[in-house]
């Protein structure tokens, strides 16, 4: 069952994309068929992982090193659920902005489905070159989606993203080539067994990580992100910030904790942690001075991504749990924020902060979603974000890493500052225009999609036990004991 389910998880959305291109008349149906069965299909793999731990599958019957293998472990299962859950809820929103039967929808949905399928293929893959191909597909589909409305700002942002992403891919590919030359295999677990540590594999790993840092927009390689995420259509911004940048962080984790598990890289770990810290500070401060809501949210992504790198210097059981939980809860919260911002932009016609005074009365659902998601981003209890940051604090406390402790706490304060700046204008501004009717209302389901995601981010604080158990079951080798 699991093999069939995993195959369909990747190929069903791809086939749906083909059908939309082939027969535009069937687009509404094929969008549904390509997305809605996915949570059901995920059940069999979920049971398999809960039961057996890890599931490996040799494509075309050829084991590595000859063929490509898929490996499903608790971490990749969580990524599959993150991608599926967020994509489906955001799709609900997108089906109003880009109706599948319309001209705009026929451009949007094939790329959307390809992006979804390629991220599923990415988190399943255990093969370094196959990861490269999936990452290329993710990037290309993402760029197509950023520019799908053809707005000049988005075009420029997409072009910049494309050029940097190509550079990143080449760096990654160089590293893959070097590792293959050393070990004769591309399987990321097999490489760990075969490699003899020397300067050459470390160079290869560094090249790959630098490439992936560009793709995940980690400070100071973040330059492309705010413009791209701030100017893309609403649902696209949501999926970009919630999942697309995360998959390359996921790849860094895989390389670091699995392939390079036994390498002694403390200095590099510290460097990565410092980059993360700089990202938190810089992203938050930049978010404080932005004048557009979507740009604030985009810089907030730069900051929140920084936390995901703290797992390297704090390496250990707690820090890894914290980082994975941060990835999940930030995904939910950030998707909710971008969707709410898209609804506001649609209704008001602008997302300039000073024009948003008093919209809480006109768009209560969206403002509520924004505020709830904000609670999780700031790390206030009870929310998924709180739990993640609490785990980080605990990890730092346990290792007596006071610098990181202060950083995590201060990062939460900064997040509170930039988000309360938004909420203060929206809810408390003296120029509240009472009783003014909005010109265009977003359809209610579009607001509900944002609200559901925000509620998910809050609920993540309550129902954390099964997820944390799953993360514990999937701890990288060597981290479980520490």
């Amino acid at each position: 069952m699991t093999a069939e389910a995993l195959s369909l998880i990747v190929f069903l959305p791809l086939l749906a994309a083909c059908v939309i291109v082939a027969a535009p008349g069937l687009s509404a149906l094929s969008v549904r068929l390509g997305l809605i069965p996915l949570p059901l299909l995920l059940l069999a793999p979920t049971l398999e992982v809960l039961d057996q731990g890890t599931y490996r599958m040799a494509l075309a019957g050829h084991n590595s090193p000859l063929g490509i293998e898929w490996a499903l472990d608790p971490l990749s299962l969580l990524m599959l659920w993150l991608n599926t859950g967020i994509t489906i809820l955001v799709s609900l929103h997108a089906s109003y902005g880009f109706p599948p039967a319309s001209e705009a929808g026929r451009r949007f949905w094939p790329l959307w489905l390809i992006l979804f399928a390629s991220m599923n293929a990415l988190v399943l893959s255990a093969d370094l070159f196959n990861l490269y191909v999936t990452l290329e597909l993710v990037t290309l589909a993402a760029i197509g989606l950023i520019t799908v409305e053809g707005k000049p700002l988005a075009l420029r942002a997409g072009m910049r993203y494309l050029l940097l992403a190509l550079l990143a891919s080449l760096l990654y590919l160089l590293g893959v080539g070097l590792l293959y030359g050393q070990t004769g295999t591309l399987d990321l677990y097999l490489i760990a067994e075969r490699i003899e540590i020397s300067w050459l594999p470390v160079t290869a790993l560094s090249l790959m990580i630098v490439g992936l840092l560009i793709k995940s927009a980690i400070f100071p390689l973040h330059a492309w992100l705010p413009a791209a995420h701030g100017n893309a259509p609403g649902p696209v911004s949501a999926i970009l910030s919630a999942v697309v940048v995360k998959v390359s962080v996921y790849m860094i984790w895989r390389l670091w904790f699995w392939t390079a598990a036994d390498w002694d890289l403390e200095a590099v770990a510290l460097l990565l942690g410092l980059l993360g810290g700089a990202a938190i500070l810089y992203g938050s401060l930049a978010a404080l001075v932005q004048v557009r809501l979507k740009m604030i949210i985009a810089y907030s992504t730069v900051a929140q991504l920084g936390y995901l790198l703290l797992v390297f210097p704090l390496a250990g059981n707690l820090a890894f749990k914290a980082a994975v939980y941060q990835m999940l809860s930030h995904g939910l919260a950030k998707a909710a924020m971008f969707l709410a911002a898209a609804n506001i932009l649609h209704a008001i016609g602008t997302d300039r902060l000073r024009r948003l005074a008093g919209i809480d009365q006109r768009m209560p659902l969206d403002v509520f979603a924004l505020a709830l998601a904000g609670v999780s981003i700031m790390g206030l209890p009870p929310s998924g974000g709180f739990l993640a940051k609490w785990l980080f604090l605990e990890a730092a406390w346990e290792q007596q890493a006071w610098g990181w402790l202060v950083l995590v706490a201060f990062g939460g304060l900064l997040a509170a500052a930039y988000l309360f700046r938004v909420l203060a204008v929206v809810c408390l501004h003296p120029r509240r225009r009472l009783g003014q009717r909005s010109r265009r209302r977003s359809p209610t389901p579009a607001s509900w999609a944002a609200l559901l995601l925000a509620i998910g981010a809050i609920l993540a604080g309550f129902f954390s036990a099964p997820v944390l158990d799953l993360i514990t079951a999937g701890l990288p080798p060597g981290l479980g004991s520490r």
Binding site: L59, S118, V133, G184
Partner: protein
């Protein structure tokens, strides 16, 4: 000695062509240098015993990419009041650090390649051992379809995505400047096409068929077929439309959908995903991929959603 001299010459030519391509003041010269660079690169591939790569490089890297660049150049000329577009006059301050960094990287990789001795159990060697079981003579086709089919399937999806992304942008710019030459009807064009097009198709089909046993395969064949399409577009025999007809849509999708459907089939009778059920499926997938590659490249070149025959007598 001669061989070493030739290799040195190729390396020298590559470096100087690369410098010329990016540092020239005129964009047009840059494009020309890039195309020549691609051809020289193809020579280099051939020298190190990779004829498949050499053909792909010549057809795609030099041929079609060059053609795409020329179309883009013509658009720029059309927009820019007859001034020939120039590369930015001042050089970026980062140019030298980037060049030094890249040089160091090349050095490191070269050193790595020199140090590496073939590790035991290398995937490439296993491919050569396993290949005869499947009755295939060309290791590259074996890797592309039998052993690492998922990579190839996703590459075809990349091509489709590129086309979809480009189509999503269509209509945002001025697409009135078509890829056609201004004065296509010199008397020789028809006679030339009558010879060249059938020959090109013949070469494409030969490359496709040869792919199972010797140099060739869907990518090279698709690129050659695309060249025929580009000729037809340039000479005005085929003109662009905004939406694709059923035939063109089929062409775009044939590769990906055939690969996925055949790849899913083994699941029905309990075999692993993407296990190809015999030679017929290899031929079928290769043909479908060739058509899709050609269709996607022609559409990208023509900046068109679809194509139609132009009947002007």
């Amino acid at each position: 000695m001669m061989a070493l001299l030739l290799d040195g010459l190729i390396v020298l030519a590559l470096v100087s062509l690369a410098v010329q391509a990016i540092s020239g003041r005129s964009l047009f010269r840059g494009i020309i240098h890039f195309v020549v660079f691609g051809l020289t690169m193809a020579l280099a591939w051939a020298r190190i015993g990779a004829p498949d790569l050499a053909m792909a490089e010549a057809a795609i890297g030099a041929g079609l990419t060059g053609a795409l660049m020329m179309v883009a150049y013509r658009r720029l000329v059309a927009q820019g009041d007859n001034h020939s577009p120039r590369a930015p006059a001042q050089k970026s301050r980062l140019a030298i650090p980037i060049a030094v960094g890249s040089g160091l990287l090349v050095g490191v990789i070269g050193l790595g390649a020199l140090l590496a001795d073939n590790p035991p159990g290398e995937a490439g060697l296993i491919v050569l051992e396993t290949l005869p079981e499947y009755g295939l003579g060309n290791a590259i086709t074996g890797v592309l379809l039998l052993f690492r089919g998922l990579d190839t399937l996703l590459e075809i999806a990349v091509l489709l995505t590129a086309l979809l992304a480009a189509r999503a942008l269509a209509g945002t710019g001025d697409s009135s400047a078509t890829a056609r030459t201004q004065h296509p009807e010199t008397p020789l064009v028809g006679a030339l096409l009558a010879v060249v097009i059938p020959l090109t198709i013949l070469v494409a089909v030969h490359l496709l068929r040869a792919g199972t046993h010797e140099t060739g395969g869907a990518f090279q064949a698709g690129a050659v077929l695309a060249a025929a399409g580009v000729l037809l577009v340039l000479s005005g025999r085929v003109s662009r439309t905004d939406t694709a007809g059923p035939l063109v849509r089929l062409g775009i999708l044939a590769g990906l959908s055939a690969f996925i459907l055949i790849g899913l089939m083994p699941l029905l009778y309990g075999e692993a995903l993407l296990t190809l059920p015999g030679m017929w499926s290899i031929y079928l997938i290769e043909t479908a991929m060739m058509v899709s590659i050609a269709a996607a490249l022609i559409l990208l070149f023509a900046d068109a959603g679809g194509l139609k025959r132009d009947r002007r007598g």
